[in-house]
């Protein structure tokens, strides 16, 4: 019985012993908005991601290796189908296609320095740091070069519509303990749960990571319309028809008066 108790205590004791030998900093992140509501005038949102780095004992590391912060904001994953146009008999038509099971609908990465200079490719792939390291999970056995071509096409398309972007140098670190970054969320993002991940990187290694959730949803009238169109589609259609008849009839009536 005593032995068993001692065994149970072992991990506790180890946990206590850890900070003394292997001091790891802790991240305390936050975002300016936990909920973003899409209303009629929504043209996008600007998120401020900020937080503090807590070093054990409150002391900054005294070596001259720089500390870097990387912030990644990800939208809900979507199952998507990417089509590629090709010229067939003189006209451009959709030819090849590739399905992705879980591509992020939005992806923004801000860092204090270019990510490629902070960590190696393997670490980038593990933590999905950077547009070239996204885990898109293509649902096909197409040859690697074709998959790469599609991935480049997808990332390029999303980047130009403002849904994917990289902002090296956008994270500011003040006095080695406070950091902040601004990320712009465009109006055409889908609704759902977004995550803001913060990574602390030193000497090519990710020392700490923390996550905060952000909920983006339609509110008020916009939510009502989107929900009606989905759930009561017949009534919604009738309303649209009635609206157009009313508009047309009113205009005719007004025009006959004047």
């Amino acid at each position: 019985m005593k032995k068993l108790l001692l065994l149970l205590l072992v991990p506790l004791l180890m946990g206590q012993a850890k900070p003394a030998t292997q001091a790891k900093p802790v991240l305390v992140p936050d975002v300016s908005q936990r909920d973003i509501e899409i209303a009629y005038s929504f043209t996008g949102a600007e998120l401020l991601l900020f937080g503090a780095i807590l070093y054990p004992g409150g002391r900054l590391p005294d070596d001259d290796k720089p500390t870097d912060i990387v912030v990644v904001v990800k939208g809900p994953v979507q199952s998507i189908l990417v089509r590629e146009k090709e010229k067939v008999a003189g006209i451009w038509v959709n030819a090849a296609r590739l399905r992705y099971r879980s591509a992020p609908s939005f992806y923004a990465i801000a860092s204090s320095r270019p990510v490629a200079s902070l960590v190696d490719e393997r670490t980038q792939a593990i933590y999905e740091l950077g547009l070239n390291s996204l885990q898109l999970s293509p649902a096909s056995s197409a040859p690697t070069e074709e998959q790469d071509r599609f991935a480049r096409g997808l990332v390029d398309l999303k980047r130009r519509s403002g849904l994917y972007f990289e902002a090296p140098g956008a994270v500011e670190i003040t006095d080695g303990v406070l950091y902040r970054a601004r990320v712009t969320i465009p109006a055409r993002v889908p609704v759902g749960r977004f995550t803001a991940e913060t990574f602390l990187i030193r000497d090519g290694r990710v020392l700490a990571a923390a996550t905060r959730d952000i909920d983006i949803r339609k509110s008020g009238f916009e939510r009502f319309v989107a929900r009606s169109a989905d759930r009561w589609s017949f009534t919604y259609g009738l309303t649209a028809v009635a609206l157009s008849i009313l508009f047309g009839w009113t205009a005719g009536w007004v025009a006959r008066r004047f």
Partner: protein
């Protein structure tokens, strides 16, 4: 003034959409067409997803045709029996069109098919209209008496069985001919988001041989019902009708249509037809170029 479209999931400048609707409405009032053939491509150019554009443009055509239908009914310019047959064909056609739309969407060729149908339809109708109005203008300039056109329906139409009388249209033909015509226009309404007036009017004149006085009114009558049906089909199948977008378009177009209708009474009809033919040909030419030119986007993404 930016406004968020809840179904298209993006924000647009409300003023631009209202003005776009107004411009199309002006043309539709002037030429007596729905104007859907302009709205859908213009919305796509502005960045609205094609499905949402086609689905919401249909309700704009409904609004534009309402006041016209009432005006023509008061003047006795609607053959309701002929209109009813066309509508019946149109309703079946729009259901079939909805099925076709889904099929093409799944195969990924919907955009190409829409573009090709546009080029063929607009190109041929625009060409015919340009030729006809040019001859009319030329004839009135030189003072030559216009050749009286024989008002006769196409021999194929005459061969169909089950003849019945359409008194207002002055016809004794089989209802199968307008039924098929309505069916065909119904498919186009769903696929392209157009009212089909610019196909229906020449077909009624040259294929069925209807009396000119009831052609425009009956065409509008058919357009009203079939575009309303198209909105319903889109609302229940593709769920792509954006009521905010439709309201903005309507706001502009119904006002524009009234202004256009007043303007139309001051200009000679053959000049109007020539102007419309040129616009139609230009749109067809632009879409045709888009098919052959390397597109801006090689890749496209859709949810699956």
């Amino acid at each position: 003034m930016d406004i968020y479209l809840p179904i298209a999931n993006l924000s647009v400048n409300a003023l631009v959409i209202v003005l776009l609707g107004g411009g199309v409405g002006l043309l539709s009032g002037m030429f007596g067409v729905g104007g859907g053939f302009l709205t859908t491509p213009l919305l796509i150019v502005y960045g609205i997803p094609p499905t949402v554009a086609a689905a919401s443009a249909a309700s704009q055509v409904t609004g534009a045709s309402v006041s016209g239908v009432f005006a023509h009914i008061r003047r006795g310019g609607v053959d309701t029996k002929m209109g009813g047959v066309l509508v019946a064909g149109g309703l079946v056609g729009s259901l079939f069109g909805g099925w076709l739309f889904k099929l093409l969407q799944a195969s990924g060729q919907i955009d190409t098919v829409i573009a090709i149908v546009y080029v063929l339809m607009l190109g041929s109708i625009g060409g015919l209209m340009a030729k006809e109005s040019w001859t009319a203008i030329h004839a009135s300039r030189t003072g030559a008496p216009p050749r009286p056109r024989k008002r006769r329906h196409h021999p194929l139409v005459a061969a169909l069985p089950l003849r019945t009388r359409f008194y207002r249209s002055g016809l004794y033909i089989s209802p199968l001919a307008p039924l098929l015509l309505g069916f065909f226009v119904g498919i186009l309404t769903i696929l392209l988001g157009i009212g089909g007036g610019f196909i229906l009017v020449p077909a009624m004149l040259y294929l069925l041989g209807m009396t000119t006085q009831v052609v425009v009114g009956t065409s509008l009558f058919q357009t009203l019902f079939v575009t309303a049906m198209a909105t319903m089909v889109h609302a229940t199948t593709t769920k792509a009708v954006d009521i905010v977008l439709a309201a903005l378009l309507l706001l502009g177009s119904v006002a524009g249509a009234q202004v256009g209708a007043r303007f139309a009474t001051k200009v000679k009809p053959e000049y109007l037809r020539l102007a419309l033919a040129i616009i139609v040909l230009l749109v067809a030419f632009r879409i045709g170029l888009g098919l052959g030119w390397r597109p801006d986007e090689i890749y496209s993404v859709e949810l699956s």
